[in-house]
């Protein structure tokens, strides 16, 4: 009984709201226009999305980064080896069955290319579309291709879990420290305190490339850590208790 009037009210509000939406492709907010005008001269960054994410609104990004960090920590904690679970001895030397030669050749050929592309996207965050987050996942994908090629253990050698944990924490801490650097050297949290450089060159836009690199490190490590923890689980056998 309560449902019908509520649904009718919601429908009315929805239709009313949809009717008053700005037309397709029209942006009525003032901030985008202002930023389009000032960001290149103020921050020397030609990619405004990165300028907003890593500088003007870096505090928001800090929160988002710590969401990923917390989620990764939770996954690692929940998936740690439990009592009664042990790795089968065969998993140690197993080259995963099932990957065809074509798939293996294809995946292995792309490993280095993906890692180079990821690094490129990370360091060019302030200049062209991309940045720490996108590049970080591309980097993680590069190592993940090793798993697709059936070389699970090679993936572990390229990125052992301990190193991933350290990289994850270092990326998150590096970002927070850059913010603190702004507080110390410029007086405001996340205020730029580095040389701005020439717009469009690799070493420009002040601290945006550094923020991008630290986020790239954190994201790449976080994704690899989650995948690798789940993979460990897939290799586990549940022993008799």
């Amino acid at each position: 009984m309560l449902f019908l009037p509520s649904a009718a009210g919601l429908l009315f509000l929805l239709i009313d709201g949809l009717r008053r939406l700005p037309a397709f492709g029209h942006y009525p907010g003032p901030y985008g226009m202002v930023l389009n005008g000032v960001a290149v001269t103020e921050r020397h960054a030609t990619n405004l999305v990165s300028a907003v994410n890593f500088d003007y609104r870096a505090f928001d990004t800090l929160g988002e980064e710590f969401i990923l960090f917390t989620a990764t920590t939770a996954v690692v904690m929940l998936l740690r080896n439990m009592r009664g679970e042990s790795e089968p001895p065969s998993a140690r030397e197993s080259r995963k069955e099932g990957a065809s030669d074509a798939l293996r050749a294809f995946a292995l050929a792309f490993v280095v290319a993906m890692i180079v592309l990821g690094g490129y996207v990370v360091v060019h965050g302030a200049i062209t579309p991309g940045g720490g987050f996108q590049g970080g996942v591309v980097l993680a994908t590069g190592a993940f291709l090793l798993f697709l090629a059936g070389e699970t253990l090679a993936m572990k050698r390229l990125a052992p879990n301990t190193m991933l944990e350290i990289a994850d924490a270092a990326g998150a801490a590096g970002f927070a420290l850059l913010g603190l650097g702004g507080l110390i050297f410029a007086g405001v949290f996340f205020e730029n305190f580095l040389d701005l450089g020439k717009p469009g060159s690799l070493n420009s836009a002040g601290m945006i490339p550094l923020v991008s690199i630290s986020i790239g490190l954190e994201v790449a490590a976080a994704f690899l850590l989650i995948w690798s923890e789940f993979l460990d689980q897939a290799l586990l056998v549940r022993g008799e208790e």
């Binding site: 579309p129 996108q134 994704f223 989650i226 789940f230 689980q233």
Partner: protein, 84 residues
């Protein structure tokens, strides 16, 4: 020209999104989800948002499906374990 591209991208996003829901088996869903991700990338690209398109490429086509697959694998282990 761009209008047509945008329309095609958004319609295909709607169609493939429905397909994800209609594929009831989670294993199939994870794969259709990857295709849905590609249509999403096309839509962002058509709407001139390359940054978001890049994120969508790596997350929806590479990042998410393996996580779903690995989680499914883990759940199957638990189910098999409890039935014994």
């Amino acid at each position: 020209m761009n209008d047509v591209f945008q329309a095609i991208a958004m319609i295909s996003m709607g169609v493939v999104g429905t397909a994800v829901v209609l594929a009831r088996d989670p294993l199939r869903q994870a794969l259709v989800l990857g295709i849905y991700g590609m249509t999403m990338v096309l839509t962002f690209f058509a709407l001139q948002a390359p940054d978001v398109a890049l994120s969508a490429i790596v997350i929806t086509t590479v990042g998410l499906p393996p996580m779903v697959l690995l989680a499914l694998r883990k759940m199957r282990d638990y189910r098999d374990g409890s039935e014994e």
